[in-house]
Symmetry: C2
Subunit: 286 residues, 2 copies
């Protein structure tokens, strides 16, 4: 497995691979890998001849410098996991290679989608995501790229960017991998203490209450669905926890779904702080 730190080298590796008639799949990550990332890599393996994984904690997408400082890192363990998955090349650039002291003057944004859900409490976050994903695509020039549906808004905005900005890459969105009790895999889960970890299952349980209610009544309205979510979340949270947002949304526009329309086909999205740890999750209602 190649471990590459320089932009020119990853570009040369990808170019050479493609010139040899092989396809390149790309899995961008911020490291501290878990089963969710491994799943992305395994899906990538099905599609392409060569797999490139990047590990880069992108400062531009952190609106909170404490969150950036506390973001968990373990590159040695990550490299071991990637070797086990038979990844072909890992791209680990240093921050100084990508950003100077000043923020880049050019911004890629999508105000219509960034002013929804996670974007409201994390100003600048999605501009940071789109910027780094755009540039990673420029350097890696992948045929395919893989993102997790846990970050639903992120993969939606990346899909729109790739389409709007004519980028020659196909995006795959991979279903969320969960712990046995339903908690979505996330690098941030490592920061939960025992009591917080136990409360965190509430998120999946609340979403399943809505999904089950739709199985029983496919005409369940968004308003009914919201009430089920609301009551379940508020019953289970402790005084140290805090809700950022939750609701039933149109899966394309991320607008709140009309109260009196059926919830079927819409998206539950939830973001809350269990203690000090911000967790997000979502479920497309089927």
């Amino acid at each position: 497995m190649l471990v590459i730190h320089k932009i020119q080298e990853i570009s040369a590796y990808s170019k050479g691979t493609k010139q040899a008639g092989l396809t390149v799949a790309f899995v961008p990550t911020m490291g501290y890998l878990h089963a969710g990332h491994i799943q992305l890599i395994r899906e990538a393996r099905k599609r392409a001849n060569r797999i490139i994984v990047s590990i880069f904690v992108n400062p531009l997408q952190f609106n909170d410098s404490e969150d950036l400082k506390n973001y968990p890192r373990n590159p040695e363990r990550d490299l071991g996991l990637l070797r086990e998955e038979d990844v072909d090349a890992v791209f680990m650039p240093e921050v100084r290679q990508i950003y100077t002291d000043e923020k880049p003057g050019t911004i890629i944004s999508n105000p219509g989608l960034a002013n929804k859900l996670c974007g409201i409490s994390r100003p600048g976050h999605f501009e940071g995501v789109l910027f780094i994903v755009h540039n990673l695509f420029q350097w890696v020039q992948p045929d395919f790229a893989f993102f997790g549906l846990k970050d639903y808004q992120q993969q939606l905005m990346i899909r729109k960017m790739v389409n709007d900005l004519a980028m020659p890459v196909e995006i795959f969105s991979i279903p969320t991998i969960r712990e046995e009790d339903g908690l979505a895999m996330s690098s941030r889960n490592a920061r939960l203490n025992n009591s917080e970890r136990s409360r965190s299952t509430l998120i999946f349980q609340s979403m399943m209450l809505v999904q089950n209610a739709i199985h029983e009544n496919k005409n369940l309205t968004n308003s009914d669905a919201f009430l089920i979510l609301h009551n379940s979340l508020h019953a289970g949270l402790s005084a140290e926890d805090r809700i950022d947002y939750f609701g039933i949304y149109d899966p394309q526009t991320l607008e709140l779904a009309a109260a009196d329309k059926p919830a079927l086909g819409n998206l539950i999205a939830i973001a809350l702080y269990i203690g000090k740890v911000r967790l997000i999750d979502n479920l497309l209602l089927v």
Copy 2:
């Protein structure tokens, strides 16, 4: 000379050219070609094996629908001129191929530079420019691209975009071509009546007054320079004309230059309406 209307075909042409080991220069235009465009093409010829010119009046960069409607067009004449210049391929996409009814959700912007000079009176203009240039670069994948210095702010923002967004193209900024009396070549000049055409020389004359004053005194301050400009412009304009902006600016940040510092090395930039026609010009003070 190939005349190509489809995105896939221009991409295939460029790809084939590069695979044959030849370099591609790109000159994006909005058509109604004049000596300024021809100069860009001749500079391109010096650098590359193959020259692609695009002709596309980009609706996204017009903040004023009247201006878009009145923008002069003459594709037959343009194609004749391009044949004379031995251009290899002309890309003339239809609007429907590039934009749907809705504006693209993803935006490329540079607020720090877009909120200066022409950006102030043309909200959204530079977002439209960056978007189309980004996408033309994605489709054409040129090695080199050529822009005129008459649109100083535009070429500066494109340079920043290419750098910030890691686009593999080298930008060349080509000095403004002028009529014998100094008026900068522009497709919009065609809309000036005789009396307006006569008044329009005032722009170049006023800039030259400042340049000559610096030749006589290299410590001439920005404040002195501004006063020369101000007096000359106001003395020559008629009641039907209107100033958008003029001043002495830092050529990198486009901030107004400090009043008591030397004007040498700074940029004069002017935008005004002669009658109903908006003209811009600029001069780097040397």
